[in-house]
C-alpha cells in the first residue's frame, strides 16, 4: 500500500519520514544515577521511591537524590498555568547537573521531563539545550532496569496473580508500557492477568479528577471493577498518580484490593529485606 504512494507522486509529499527509531540505550551500565522522586511518591508512596533506590543500588549503581527536588511541574502545566510550570521545572533543572541518567519511577513525570520540558523552554535557546540534554538521559524506572541495567530477577515469592495497570503516559508518551510487563515476566511464579479495557485511562488526569469528578469517577469505577473482575490478587502500577486514584477509589468502595508500585512489588519478590 505505502509503495503505491511512494511511486505515485512527484509533486505531493509522498515520502513519509521513517518511523521514529526505538530509543538507543547506552551499552554500559552507569556508575551513578539520579532519582527523581516525584511529588506524589514523596508524600504518598515514599516506600516505592526507596525501593526504586534499592533496586538500582543492587545493580551496583550509586543513587543520588538531590534534596532540593520537588515536583516536575506537570500539574500546573496540564492545568494551563504554563508560567508557573516553567518556573518549577527550572528549579529542578539545576539539580541534575552531572551527566548521569535521571531515573523517574513514574511514566507521566518522566514524560513531562522528556517531552514537555522542551516545549516549556522552546523560547530560551540556552536553557533548551540543557533541557534537551536532560531529556536524553531521562528514563522511566522499568525502562532503565530492563534496558540499561539489564536486570535478571530471581523470583523469591509465593505464586500469585497480578494485574498490571500502565499509565497513559507510559503507554503513549514514554512507550514504556511493555517494559513493566517484561520485568514481571522474569518472575516465574507471578502470573499476569489481563483486565478489561486494559489500555484505557483510569480517569486520574491530575486536576481532571477534581475539575470533572463525575466523568473521572465513572472512569475509575470501570477501572476498579475491571481490576477486581480480573481475578488478580494484586494490582501493580508504575505510576503514583494512577495508584493514588485507583487506591483511593478502591478504599472508598471498601474493596479489599489495593495497588502497589512496581518498584515495591519487584523489590519484595526478589528478596528485598521487608
Amino acid at each position: 500500500m505505502s509503495e503505491l504512494f511512494y511511486n505515485a507522486a512527484p509533486n505531493a509529499t509522498r515520502v513519509a519520514p521513517p518511523l521514529p527509531e526505538p530509543r538507543q540505550y547506552p551499552a554500559q551500565k552507569p556508575g551513578n544515577a539520579y532519582l527523581f522522586g516525584t511529588c506524589v511518591l514523596d508524600l504518598f508512596f515514599p516506600e516505592a521511591g526507596l525501593d526504586a533506590i534499592r533496586l538500582l543500588e543492587r545493580e551496583g549503581i550509586q543513587v543520588h537524590f538531590p534534596q532540593e527536588q520537588s515536583c516536575c511541574g506537570q500539574p500546573a502545566y496540564t492545568s494551563g498555568y504554563t508560567d508557573e510550570a516553567r518556573e518549577v521545572a527550572r528549579a529542578q533543572l539545576a539539580l541534575f547537573a552531572e551527566d548521569w541518567p535521571l531515573v523517574v519511577p513514574s511514566g507521566s513525570c518522566a514524560g513531562m521531563i522528556r517531552h514537555h520540558y522542551c516545549e516549556l523552554f522552546k523560547d530560551e535557546p540556552a536553557t533548551l539545550r540543557q533541557v534537551q540534554a536532560l531529556a536524553a538521559r531521562t528514563f522511566e524506572l522499568a525502562e532503565f532496569l530492563l534496558h540499561i541495567c539489564k536486570v535478571e530477577f530471581k523470583d523469591r515469592g509465593q505464586p500469585t496473580r497480578i494485574a498490571l495497570h500502565t499509565s497513559c503516559s507510559a503507554r503513549r508518551e514514554m512507550n514504556t508500557h511493555l517494559h513493566g510487563r517484561a520485568l514481571l515476566a522474569q518472575l516465574e511464579r507471578v502470573e499476569r492477568v489481563e483486565h478489561d479495557h486494559e489500555g484505557e485511562c483510569c480517569g486520574f488526569g491530575g486536576t481532571f479528577s477534581v475539575r470533572m469528578p463525575d466523568i473521572s469517577g465513572a472512569m475509575v469505577a470501570d477501572k476498579t471493577r475491571a481490576l477486581q473482575d480480573s481475578g488478580a490478587a494484586e494490582v501493580v502500577s508504575a505510576d503514583g498518580g494512577c495508584l493514588l486514584n485507583i487506591n483511593g477509589a478502591l478504599e472508598k468502595q471498601h474493596a479489599p484490593l489495593r495497588g502497589q508500585h512496581l518498584a515495591s512489588f519487584l523489590w519484595k519478590r526478589t528478596g528485598g529485606a521487608r
Binding site: M1, L41, E47, T78, Y81, V88, F204, G205, F208, P213
Partner: protein, 482 residues
C-alpha cells in the same frame, strides 16, 4: 421507546458540559449502547489497519498532505474557486453561519423551492440549516439513515459519522412505530427498508439537494463525497439544484492527495477499506449528459476557522478529516455520549474545534473535560496532537482578561484570580526547598489531621493520607547511612 430517559438534546447547552455529563452518566441505557458501539468500532479500525508500519507511514503522509494544504490555504481556495467556476459551479463565501444560511435561502427562493433533501453534512448542522429553512417555509429532510432517525426524534447527532449510534435497534423500532405508524419490528433490515421507502419518494419530490463535502480538490475543481447508503449520490444528482456546503479547511491540492486521505478516512471511521460510494462532483449536468443537477453551488464557510488558522499551533486543528476515530477511542466520549457536549462536533475533535466555532466563552469546560490520556492523538489519522491542543486551550482559558496577547474569542473565560493565586502558591512551594521541606514535615507529621472531605476528590475516593515520613526523609536517611 422510553422517552423519559432520553436526554432532550436540543436544549443541551455547550456551557453546561459538566451538568449534561452528570445526567448522561446516569443513563445506563446510553452508557451500555455507547460502550458496545465504541468497542466494536475500535476493533474494526484495528482490524483494517493490521500493519503498524503501514499505518504509521500512512498517518504521517496524511498529516503532510493536510499540513501542506493548510500552509497554502488562501492560494488553494482561490484555485478551487477558479476551477469550480470554470466547471460551471457557483462558489459562495460565508463568514458566518447566518450568511451561509442566507445564501442557501436565496438560491432556494430563486427556484421557489418547497422541499430540500439533504445528505449528511456536519457543516449544515453547524448552520442549523434545517431549522432556518423551516422557519422560511421550506421543508428540509435528512436522507442519511442515522440523520433521519435523529431528525424524527428531534435530537442532535451524537457522532459525526454515526449520528444515531447511541440508540439501539429497540429504540429505533419504537421510534418508527411511534412517529411513522409502522408495524413494530426490531429487524434491522426491515427498519432500513422502511426508512428507504419513505425517503425514496422524497428524492423525487425535492427541489434542491444539499450535501457536505469530504475533500475539495483545488487543482481540478472536484468535490469529493464519500458515503455508504447511496443517499448522497441521490441528493446530489436527482434534484435539479445541488448545494454543497463545506468548511474552508477541506481543500486539498490535487487528486493524488485524496488517495491516502480517503484510505485513512474510511478505515479510521468504520474500518472499511473504501466506502460503497465515492462521489466526485465536478459541475452541473452538461448538454449531452443524462443526469445530474442543472445548477451546482458550493458554499464555503469560515465560522471561526480563520481564527484557528491564524495560530501556527492551533492551525493543526484544521487538519481534521472528520473520521470520528478520536471520539470512538475517547474514554470520556464513550461514557457521556455526544450530546452532552452540547456542540455540533463532540468528543476530542469537538473539544478543540468548538472553541473556535463558538468562542471559549461558550465552551468553557470543553478543554478541561479530558484526562489527556492521549488515546485520541494516538489514533488520529492526520496526527493532530489533540492532547497538546487541549492543553494549549486550557492555557488560553485561564489567561487574565487584560492579557495583551489575544488569540481567540472568549479567551480567559475560566480566569479566576483565586485559582491563579493558588498556583502561584504552588510555584512558591515547589521552588523553595526549605518551604517544601517544612510543608513535607507538617503534611507527614500531621497526617492524622487530613480532612476526610476534600471536596470533589472525596466524591469518588477516600481522602488520601500522607505517609508517616516523606521520600525526602527516607532517601536522606538511607543514602547517608551508607
Amino acid at each position: 421507546m422510553n422517552s423519559q430517559a432520553r436526554i432532550p438534546a436540543v436544549e443541551l447547552s455547550s456551557r453546561d458540559l459538566k451538568h449534561n455529563a452528570h445526567n448522561a452518566l446516569g443513563d445506563a441505557q446510553l452508557r451500555g449502547n455507547m460502550r458496545k458501539a465504541m468497542d466494536s468500532l475500535m476493533a474494526k479500525r484495528l482490524a483494517s489497519m493490521p500493519d503498524e508500519y503501514e499505518r504509521e507511514h500512512l498517518r504521517e503522509m496524511g498529516n503532510h498532505v493536510r499540513a501542506r494544504a493548510l500552509s497554502r490555504l488562501p492560494e488553494l481556495l482561490e484555485r478551487l474557486e477558479a476551477n469550480l467556476t470554470r466547471n460551471g459551479v457557483k462558489v459562495h463565501w460565508a463568514e458566518t453561519t447566518e450568511e451561509a444560511n442566507r445564501i442557501v435561502l436565496e438560491i432556494a427562493e430563486r427556484h421557489q423551492a418547497k422541499q430540500v433533501i439533504k445528505g449528511k453534512s456536519m457543516v449544515s448542522e453547524e448552520m442549523e440549516m434545517n431549522h432556518f429553512l423551516e422557519r422560511h417555509g421550506i421543508e428540509a429532510l435528512e436522507s442519511d439513515m442515522g440523520e433521519y432517525i435523529i431528525q424524527l426524534d428531534h435530537e442532535k447527532p451524537t457522532h459525526i459519522i454515526m449520528p444515531a449510534i447511541h440508540k439501539n435497534a429497540r429504540q429505533v423500532a419504537d421510534l418508527f412505530h411511534d412517529r411513522l405508524g409502522e408495524p413494530y419490528t426490531e429487524d434491522v433490515d426491515a427498519l432500513i427498508q422502511t426508512g428507504r421507502r419513505v425517503l425514496r419518494k422524497k428524492f423525487l419530490e425535492a427541489d434542491i439537494g444539499v450535501s457536505g463535502v469530504n475533500f475539495a480538490v483545488a487543482e481540478t475543481g472536484t468535490l469529493l463525497l464519500v458515503e455508504n447508503e447511496g443517499n448522497g449520490r441521490m441528493s446530489t444528482t436527482v434534484p435539479p439544484v445541488h448545494i454543497a456546503v463545506t468548511g474552508i479547511e477541506k481543500v486539498v491540492e490535487n487528486l493524488r492527495d485524496v488517495v491516502p486521505l480517503l484510505s485513512l478516512l474510511t478505515r479510521s471511521a468504520l474500518g472499511q477499506g473504501i466506502t460503497t460510494y465515492v462521489n466526485m462532483i465536478s459541475g452541473p449536468r452538461k448538454a449531452d449528459e443524462l443526469d445530474g443537477p442543472q445548477e451546482v453551488h458550493l458554499v464555503l464557510l469560515d465560522n471561526g476557522r480563520s481564527q484557528a488558522f491564524a495560530d501556527g499551533e492551533l492551525r493543526q486543528t484544521l487538519n481534521c478529516i472528520r473520521c470520528g476515530a478520536c471520539m470512538n477511542h475517547c474514554p470520556v466520549y464513550t461514557r457521556i455520549g455526544g450530546q452532552a457536549y452540547g456542540t455540533v462536533y463532540p468528543g476530542p475533535i469537538g473539544k478543540i474545534i468548538s472553541p473556535h466555532l463558538m468562542g471559549l466563552e461558550n465552551t468553557p469546560d470543553h478543554p478541561s473535560a479530558s484526562s489527556l490520556c492521549g488515546a485520541c492523538g494516538e489514533v488520529c489519522p492526520v496526527k493532530i496532537p489533540i492532547p497538546s491542543l487541549l492543553r494549549r486551550l486550557r492555557e488560553e482559558n485561564v489567561k487574565a482578561p487584560d492579557d495583551p496577547h489575544k488569540v481567540m474569542r472568549g479567551q480567559g473565560s475560566k480566569y479566576s484570580p483565586r485559582e491563579r493565586l493558588l498556583w502561584k502558591g504552588w510555584r512558591l512551594l515547589n521552588r523553595s526547598p526549605w518551604l517544601y521541606r517544612v510543608f513535607g514535615f507538617f503534611a507527614t507529621r500531621l497526617r492524622g489531621l487530613t480532612p476526610s472531605n476534600l471536596g470533589p476528590w472525596t466524591q469518588n475516593h477516600s481522602a488520601p493520607k500522607p505517609a508517616a515520613r516523606s521520600l525526602h526523609e527516607l532517601a536522606r536517611e538511607h543514602l547517608e547511612g551508607k
